[in-house]
């Protein structure tokens, strides 16, 4: 359980995190979403006590992180896979971390096996690919067998098999009753992995809700149709209380009515339909809509 109350972090005049309050519960994967520069990493650094908050407080299992004597048994975190000394071997890296918390060398071998790094345990991490570094970071997070796990962009640089492995790992960790917080830019990945979402933009909380609820908050369900009689259909839909707008190609998009209602309406008015399908609003779509006002760095429109 991670609890933040009125968390604020200012760098100079700008607030990277602004009055953030949330609770991250055990037994589920909480996805942490936000555009670049929204304050995701800063929030994670505040949770881990790497940065001191300008105001507010955050606790892990009821205590400030800095007061934990053996934090690896409570929280496992992967913030930055590059945060290792390249001249040290994978095994020595994990051993020096384990020793600070009194964790036995045998557990180091165990997590090396778990992350598939046993064969490179004696190699210096300088030569590791980004994917191997991610695995090493995850191995470090698992060392203390903690109840709370935090991962910042864990699938960055992983191949499809690695991504699948991470996804399975997150689900397994949550299924064991642990608290899992994972940030990502990859919406499709989050759709597969997360049960709950924490969405921030410009340091402020935008949403703290279940995946389904978040998607529903977007513009909602739409029905795509194609018809040779667009004018008649537009009249019928408008009369029935729905809205209709042209979509891509010759398709029309109906909102406010279900698939069945659109079909019945067309049948009653003798309008032929060539295509009728409900479009599922993706997480990505809902995310873009809800964070549109809070994107710091927007790509320019091509002229």
């Amino acid at each position: 359980m991670i609890e933040a109350r009125g968390l604020v972090k200012r760098y100079g005049g700008t607030a990277a995190v602004n009055d953030l309050s949330f609770t991250i519960r055990p037994g589920q994967v909480t996805g942490f979403l936000g555009p670049n520069g929204a304050g995701k990493t800063t929030t994670m650094r505040l949770i881990l006590g790497l940065d001191h908050p300008s105001a507010g407080a955050v606790t892990v299992n009821g205590r400030p992180y800095a007061q934990l004597a053996s934090p690896m048994h409570v929280v496992g975190a992967l913030l930055d896979a590059g945060a290792v000394h390249g001249g040290r071997t994978a095994g020595s890296h994990l051993l020096c971390l384990a020793q600070t918390n009194g964790i036995a060398r045998s557990r180091v071998d165990e997590v090396l096996g778990l992350t598939g790094l046993t064969s490179v345990a004696g190699k210096r991490t300088k030569g590791f690919s980004l994917g191997m570094r991610q695995r090493l970071g995850i191995a470090a997070a698992l060392l203390g067998d903690p109840q709370v796990l935090m991962f910042d962009e864990p699938v960055n640089g992983l191949d499809p098999e690695g991504i699948r492995w991470i996804r399975t790992l997150m689900r397994s960790l949550a299924a064991e009753g642990r608290t899992v917080l994972v940030s990502s830019h990859l919406m499709s990945e989050m759709e597969y992995t997360a049960d709950h979402l924490l969405v921030i933009g410009r340091g402020r909380l935008i949403a703290d809700c279940g995946m389904a609820e978040f998607i529903a908050r977007g513009s909602g369900q739409a029905v795509q149709v194609r018809t040779p009689q667009p004018d008649e259909l537009t009249q019928a839909v408008t009369a029935a209380g729905g809205t209709i707008a042209p979509a891509d190609d010759s398709y029309l998009e109906v909102r406010g009515l279900t698939e069945e209602q659109v079909s019945d309406l067309a049948f009653a008015h003798g309008i032929r339909l060539y295509h009728l399908a409900a479009t599922r609003v993706s997480l990505e779509h809902a995310f873009m809509e809800l964070t549109a006002d809070s994107v710091d760095y927007r790509a320019g429109q091509p002229a």
């Binding site: 053996s70 934090p71 000394h85 020793q99 600070t100 009194g102 060392l143 399975t168």
Partner: protein
Amino acid sequence: MTSLSIDTRAESQVPRPSRAVPFGRTLRSEFTKIRSVRSTYWSMAMLVAVSLAWCIAFCAGEASRWAHLSAQDRAGFDATQASIVGVALLGQLVIAVLGTLAITSEYSTGMIRTSLTVMPRRPVMFGAKAATFAGISLVLGFGASFASFFLGQRLLASTHQGATLGQPEVLRAVVAAALFVAVCGLFAFGLGAILRSTAGGLTAAFGLLFLVPQLAKALPGAWYADVVRWLPGGDVIPVITSTVGLNNPPHLFSAWGELAVFAGYTVILLAAGAVAFSRRDA
């Protein structure tokens, strides 16, 4: 077909210490850190090598010229100083690099974020790091100093002027040279902790040790005489390595006094470094 879940739970019992002794555990971790990177061994070998190289060049040179030296030169010759002055003179350069890197490499590699995540009690982390480095630099300092002393005396045997540890001031000089090396390393360590940059730490360390004493010489004579004994670098080395006292520049404290002044500055830098390390965002 891969299995649908990954069992991450510990098979071996992960001990959950009830009576936590974070300092001891962090000390072990810091020792693992310093012995698991190659640069440590390179720097240690370098320190011993430059000390012995100076000793060989100086002592063998004196021995070969001995027959042609005047009586006055022979009387002024300090066999102890000849053998160990290189430990302090060249060793300070190497140990300053090692001391700076001991802390700044954590920042340059980003390792500090991982280190502070697993040990968030920052004063404990800083203390363990400083203590580990202090231990290693003491071993290095004593090793280089005694090795240079014995090698030097062997090379000077033909002059019949060789010193032994039982003679007055000799053991004091050998020990002081070793301590000087260790203090020098911690001086750089403190600066590294304050500046968090390898280049910055080294520039500051060498600037304070070499440049400031040179600048002080531009002061009017009377002021210089008052100031010079309070400088961290400068003429400390001839004073602490000398056994005859003839070579001592005026206006300075005794060997222990000079070493104490240097150690005092080091304590101030370490304290400032500890405060900075504990308060700043990592």
